[in-house]
C-alpha cells in the first residue's frame, strides 16, 4: 500500500497541479463561445460569432496589436542587450564586474509596482510623454534581467574547449563566435526571448504605470473588468494560448521526429 502511494503520489499531485493551472484557461475557452451580450458573466448559449468576429468589440484588436508590437520590440532589444551582458559577465574579467552583476540582479528583486512607480517618476521628471516608447523601455528593463539569467546559465555550461578547438581549426575570433559559440547558445537565447516575450505580453502593473493613454491587451481587460469583459477578449486569450502551444509543440514534434530518424540511421 505504502509503495503504491509512493509510486503515484508525484504523478497524481503533479497532474492535479497541471489541471489547476489550466482550469481558468478552460473557462476562458468555454466562455469564448458564449452568446454573451455586453457582459460575459453567465452562460447564455453557444455561438461561433465571437470567433468569427474577434475584433467585434471596440478596442480589443487594437490593444492586442499594441501588445504584440511592444512585445516584439522589447524582446528584441532585451535579448540582444541581455545576451551581450551574459557573454561579457561570464567570459571576461574586468573591474566593475560585481557592480554590473548587482545592477542586473536588482530589477529581479524589485517588485513591479516599485519598478513601475520609479520609471513613472523618471519619465515625469524627464518630461517624456507616456506611450509606446516608455512602455517598451520599462519592459526592456525587467525582461533583460531574465534574459541575462537564462543565457548566462547557458554560457557557463558551454565548454570553452569547443571555442579553443575552433580557434585551433583556423577560425578567427569572429568565425568562432558565429560558427560555434552562437549556434550553441541559440537554444538558450531562444528560450530567453520566448520567456521575455511572454512576460512582456502578459505584463500589466508596470505597463499601467507607464502607458498613459496607450492601451495594451492586459490593460484593456483590466479596464473593461469593471464594465464587463467582452467575449472577444476570451477569443483572443484562447487563441493566443493555443497559438503559443501549437508553435512550440510543432517545433518539438519536428525536433523529436528528426532525432528519431537520426537515431534510426
Amino acid at each position: 500500500m505504502k509503495r503504491v502511494i509512493g509510486r503515484w503520489l508525484i504523478p497524481v499531485a503533479g497532474g492535479l497541479a497541471f489541471v489547476y493551472l489550466l482550469v481558468p484557461i478552460a473557462y476562458i475557452f468555454v466562455f469564448s463561445f458564449n452568446d454573451a451580450g455586453r457582459t460575459n458573466l453567465e452562460w447564455r448559449g453557444f455561438t461561433l460569432n465571437n470567433w468569427q468576429n474577434p475584433c467585434g468589440a471596440p478596442n480589443v484588436c487594437e490593444s492586442l496589436v499594441n501588445s504584440l508590437q511592444v512585445g516584439v520590440v522589447a524582446t528584441v532589444i532585451a535579448t540582444v542587450l541581455g545576451t551581450c551582458i551574459a557573454l561579457g559577465l561570464v567570459r571576461y574579467k574586468f573591474k566593475f564586474r560585481n557592480t554590473a552583476d548587482l545592477l542586473i540582479i536588482l530589477p529581479l528583486a524589485t517588485p513591479e509596482v516599485v519598478l513601475g512607480a520609479s520609471l513613472l517618476a523618471q519619465f515625469l521628471n524627464l518630461g517624456w510623454e507616456l506611450g509606446f516608447t516608455t512602455i517598451v523601455i520599462s519592459h526592456v528593463i525587467f525582461c533583460m534581467s531574465f534574459v541575462v539569467v537564462t543565457v548566462r546559465a547557458r554560457v557557463s555550461s558551454l565548454d570553452p574547449r569547443l571555442e579553443e578547438a575552433a580557434s585551433d581549426l583556423y577560425a578567427s575570433p569572429l568565425a568562432t563566435f558565429w560558427k560555434v559559440t552562437f549556434p550553441l547558445l541559440l537554444p538558450g537565447v531562444v528560450a530567453a526571448a520566448l520567456l521575455s516575450f511572454a512576460m512582456s505580453f502578459d505584463d500589466f502593473i508596470i505597463t499601467n504605470f507607464n502607458s498613459g493613454n496607450f492601451s495594451t491587451f492586459p490593460k484593456f481587460i483590466y479596464v473593461s473588468a469593471t464594465r464587463g469583459i467582452p467575449a472577444q477578449a476570451n477569443v483572443i486569450g484562447s487563441a493566443m494560448f493555443l497559438l503559443a502551444l501549437a508553435v512550440v509543440i510543432t517545433s518539438q514534434v519536428i525536433a523529436y521526429r528528426r532525432r528519431k530518424v537520426l537515431a534510426a540511421r
Binding site: A165, D168, Y170
Partner: protein
Amino acid sequence: MTTVTTNKSEPGTTTSSGADLHLQNISKRFVDFTAVDDLTLTVPSGTFFALLGPSGCGKTTTLRMIAGLEQPTSGSISIGGQDVTKLPSFQRQVNTVFQSYALFPHMSVLDNVAFGLKRKRVKDTLQRAKAALAMVELEHMASRKPTQLSGGQQQRVALARALVNRPAVLLLDEPLGALDMKLRRQMQVELKSIQTEVGLTFIHVTHDQEEAMTMADTVAVMNKGKIEQMGAPRDLYELPKTAFVANFLGKSNLMYGTVLEDLGDAVAVDASGHRLVMPKNRAVAHSGAAVVGVRPEKMRVMTLEAEYSPSANMLTGTVLDASFTGVSTEYLVDVPGIGTLATFSQNMGQAPAQRGETVRMTWEPEFSFGLDGNEKATEGKDAL
C-alpha cells in the same frame, strides 16, 4: 579522384611531411606557480614524440603553448624555422586532438571534419573531409551527430578533423584517456600506423608510460615544468638518469650507498655493508654518495643453496610478500639496512619462495644504473 590540387602549397600552409618544432627557453608562470620552467626542446620533422609526466607536470601547458592557446611568459616557439610565438592559434599550422575530443555538438561528423578546411577556404572541402573520414573508417557515419557515436568513434573523428588539415605539427592531448583498456590498445596501434602513413610530426601528451613507450620514437619525461630526461623509449627504460624517471617509467629498486673503490670500467659501492658494482658509463656519480638502481625483472631470486656467478651483485633478505600471477611470482623482499625491494621470477616450474623464507637475489653488474647520491629514492613513485 585526382589529387592535383593538393600540393600547390602556398608558403607555409600545407606541409605534408611535417616540420621541425623548436621551443627555446619556454616558460609559463601563473600568478602562484610555474607550470613550465625554461624548457628548450627540438622535435625533428616526422617524429612521433611523447611528452610523458604526471598530472600537473606542465605537459599540457606546453602543448597548449605550441597550439597557441596559451601565451608563454618568456621564450619562443618556432615551427619549420618560422617564429610563431606571437601568432594566434587560428593562424598556426598546428592542429590538436583534444582530451575530451571537443567535437562541435551542433554539427554533423562530416561538418566537424570539414570545419578547418572551410576556414582555410580550401577547394574540394567535402571530398577531402570524406577522404579523411574514410581513413579512420567512419565514412558511413558522416551525417550523424557526434553524440550518437561511441567514445572510440568520437576519438577517430577528432583525429580525422585534425589530420585533414595536414598540419605541420599534430598535437594529441591524452587522446586515449577516455577509452577503455582494450580500445586504448587498439587505438594506439592505429594512431601509430596513421602517423607512419602520413609522416607528420606528432606530439603526444600522456601520463601513461606504457602508451608513451609503445607509440613514440622519442619520449620526454616531464616533471615540475622541466624535462627530466629525453630519448628513445628503450634507452630511457634501461638507463634512467634520475630517480623520478626510474620510478615513473616502470619500477626500480633504488639503494643508497657510497663509492668504495674504482675498478677501472666500474665502481664498487658500499650500500649498508653490501658491496654492489655498477659500470661507470651507466653511473651519474663516480665518487662519494651514489644511488644504485636495478629493475626488478633484471634480478634473479634463488635459494641460499643455489649456485650463482661470483661477479654478480648479491643481496640476501626475507620474503615479506609473494604473489603468484601465473606468468611469474612477484616478491617483496626485506633486505636489512637497505629496505624493501621488489623483484619477480618467471614461472619455469620451480616452487615459489614462501613468505618468511630467506632468499638470495642476484643481478649482473651491467644491469645496475647509478644515480646522483642526493636523489630522493621515492621521487615519482606514486605520481600519476
